[in-house]
């Protein structure tokens, strides 16, 4: 049976997580494609409360392909992933979403930066923003909960109105990760 709601919905929903989800709903997002991550959980639980369809897919590239299908069909999807999975999504972003101008908002939970304890996360943490910039995808670092609505709205406008994929990068300073992350 497909589980449509994140398992630990009871996990604390932080102010910035609620703000991002509420803003996505205000911008008429109807479906969220994602690969699970601790810091995304609160956003997904809130989206679920709003009736947004959740699609937990097998790989970040698949999320991008799925969202591209939603977008070309006229819907408003969002893709959420961890920065370590961004490498899995690069080809679909660079050879589908960007050339077809299927504007999709990305929410990227950053690992491998400030306070990272896992050495295997560090290289992709260093590279994530540069990888997106190399494809012409603008990124906006979110470090304070007070900025969550503005950045999410701005990225949604770029995606849905300008047809440009853009990303909110959830930086470590926001908190919400597991201890040691």
């Amino acid at each position: 049976m497909v589980e449509t709601m994140p398992r630990d919905k009871s996990a604390a929903q932080l102010e910035w997580q609620l703000a991002i989800a509420d803003e996505l709903v205000r911008r008429d997002v109807t479906v969220a494609a994602y690969v699970p991550d601790t810091r995304l959980q609160g956003i997904l639980a809130r989206l679920d409360e709003h009736g947004v369809s959740l699609r937990s897919l097998t790989r970040e590239e698949e999320c991008v392909g799925y969202a591209a299908g939603q977008r070309i069909a006229g819907k408003r999807p969002v893709v959420l992933m961890q920065s370590s999975g961004l490498g899995n999504a690069i080809n679909a972003l660079g050879s589908l979403v960007v050339p077809y101008r299927l504007g999709i908002p990305l929410i990227v939970s950053m690992r491998g930066t400030l306070g990272e304890a896992n050495p295997s996360q560090i290289p992709m943490g260093r590279a994530a923003t540069a990888l997106l910039h190399a494809l012409g995808i603008q990124t906006f670092a979110l470090r304070a909960a007070a900025d969550a609505r503005q950045l999410t709205d701005g990225v949604a406008t770029m995606a849905f109105d300008a047809g440009e994929c853009a990303a909110v990068m959830l930086e470590a300073e926001l908190g919400g990760g597991r201890a040691g992350n």
Partner: protein, 189 residues
């Protein structure tokens, strides 16, 4: 069968379907069979076409969606079969051009077994069919419980003709017009 015969069977049997074609042979075949019809042609992004078709299908649940995929393409994005089995969009048919080679890169062998029908049988939730004639493909398109995967076995490799390099802006514009056009009530899912 050749790839263009498979695409022609789809276009003739389910003319109101929204088709999603993976890069290379599938895109060229669908362009040839549909006279460059208003479908979602992938120019690259190998391995993402079934995910794209699933996105279209779930966005438009009352329209039939056909994913036309190369076998190498599906191997690269095979995990999406698990997602289709999980979410089971009832308006999605996947047709695999099964010839055991990578077409657009020069016909190199896949080596990996292309037993997609058996895979989805194991996963459950997706009906599986294997056909080697256009008549059997037409029958499967009309009668298969959905979501369905139809493995179309090709016995002749002929490049369909049209370029697989598409203009993304034209694809998006024409596909969206196709989404909004009125279709026969009988063809609605």
């Amino acid at each position: 069968m050749q790839a263009t015969e498979v695409a022609s069977a789809i276009v003739d049997t389910v003319p109101d379907a929204l088709c999603v074609a993976s890069l290379g042979t599938a895109t060229s075949a669908l362009r040839a069979a549909s006279n460059d019809g208003p479908h979602f042609y992938f120019g690259a992004s190998m391995g993402s076409a079934l995910a794209g078709a699933m996105g279209v299908a779930e966005a438009l649940p009352d329209r039939l969606v056909v994913a036309l995929l190369g076998d190498g393409e599906l191997l690269m994005g095979a995990a999406t079969l698990w997602s289709v089995a999980a979410y089971r969009p009832a308006n999605l048919i996947t047709v695999v051009l099964s010839d055991g080679v990578y077409g657009i890169t020069g016909g190199q062998a896949l080596n990996a077994p292309t037993r997609f029908a058996e895979v989805v049988q194991c996963l459950g939730g997706v009906t599986n069919h294997r056909v080697d004639t256009a008549a059997d493909l037409c029958h499967a398109l009309q009668t298969a419980a959905r979501p369905a995967l139809i493995e179309a076995e090709l016995d002749e490799r002929v490049w369909p003709g049209p370029s697989p390099f598409v203009d993304p802006a034209k694809v998006v514009l024409e596909f969206r017009a196709n989404v909004h056009r009125s279709v026969s009530p009988d063809s609605r899912v």
